[in-house]
Amino acid sequence: MKFLTARNAGLIACDSCHLLLRKPVPRTGKHRCPRCGATLHSRIPRSLSKTWALLIAATILYIPANTLPVMSVVYLGRGEPSTILQGVMHLLAEGMWPLATIVFVASIFVPLLKLVVLSGLLISIRRASNWRTLDRTRLYRLTEFVGRWSMVDIFVIGVLTALVQFGNLASIEPGAGALSFAAVVVLTMFAAHTFDPRLLWDHAQHD
């Protein structure tokens, strides 16, 4: 037996104000919520292809984000560039392993987790999987929730470049990898947003 979804019941819920409406017959263009004015759709239109596009772009940028230096410490004219991983190693060398762990998880592990999990979920929908739908939905919620924390490295770069400005003596400048890294974070956040977890339930069945 299939789960009863709002769509099967002929109902549509507004994504924005959660008003539940009897499904309108789509005639022309977009249907808008009569209460809040948001566009109504029972599933995000072209959710799969949009999410794939964002994920592929993010995957490509993940490489320069991790191999190029995200910032460099210039001391007496000599620059010392460091990548994300080198930044983590630096924290470890200082004996700050709790902070090093947080930065490692937020900057390296979480973006990779998002890329892998979202791709996996997209493939599972493609294969019309009905395997542990609730767990897959929870996995999605988790990646959506933790994704923002990857921004921490961008803020570190901002704070350091603002604080350390001693002319020719010492300065910290943003590196070429910083923009790619920020793009990975933003693109994966958008990907999580365009992914429609309701698609997971369209093939879900009771045992």
């Binding site: 924005s16 104000c17 961008i154 803020f155 704070v159 470049t161 604080l163 001693f166 923009l179």
Partner: protein, 171 residues
């Protein structure tokens, strides 16, 4: 999802948003961190992080930091006050405010003050061996602001607002 409208919820959200706004102004009015390196002192404010990225020719990063640590959090605080104050005064919300409510809902994950706080901690540790970092007055206001906004996000639910918004049932 069935729930009776709660006036306590509106009061609480409004109080938190007003407190948050005052803390936001304080946090942005005073130096945030001061760096002391061999007699040279450098003050920085909250928006300095974003401005320095512009100065380093990284306008996209600068804008991203400005939006996530300044624009969206401020918009959330002011927006909540604008949406809930009429409700508190017993008026029905204006039709045109629905767009603002939708904007606030969709931009909520993009306000990142608590993540910025973690970044400040990381930056201070990284600078530990180079220079002495002195916490500024606004750092305390900022910490209080993060607590206030975290509480706001748990109590704030635009449910009451949406319930009060006038609309016409389609025939």
């Amino acid at each position: 999802m069935l729930r009776a409208p709660s006036h306590g919820g509106i009061d609480r959200s409004l109080a938190l948003a007003l407190t948050g706004f005052i803390l936001f102004v304080l946090a942005n009015s005073f130096p945030f961190l001061t760096l002391d390196a061999q007699g040279q002192r450098l003050d920085s404010t909250l928006v300095s992080s974003s401005l320095s990225l512009y100065a380093w020719d990284q306008p996209i990063l600068g804008t991203l930091v400005l939006l996530t640590t300044f624009v969206f959090p401020l918009a959330e605080l002011l927006g909540v006050i604008y949406l809930l104050l009429p409700l508190r005064l017993g008026r029905r919300p204006a039709r045109h405010s629905a767009g603002l409510a939708r904007f606030l809902q969709s931009t909520q994950p993009w306000g990142m003050l608590e993540i910025f706080m973690l970044a400040v901690l990381v930056a201070v540790v990284k600078l530990g061996d180079i220079a002495h970092v002195i916490p500024g007055l606004s750092l305390y206001a900022f910490a209080a602001l993060i607590g206030t906004m975290a509480l706001l996000s748990t109590t704030l639910d635009l449910f009451d607002y949406w319930e009060q918004l006038p609309w016409e049932q389609p025939s």
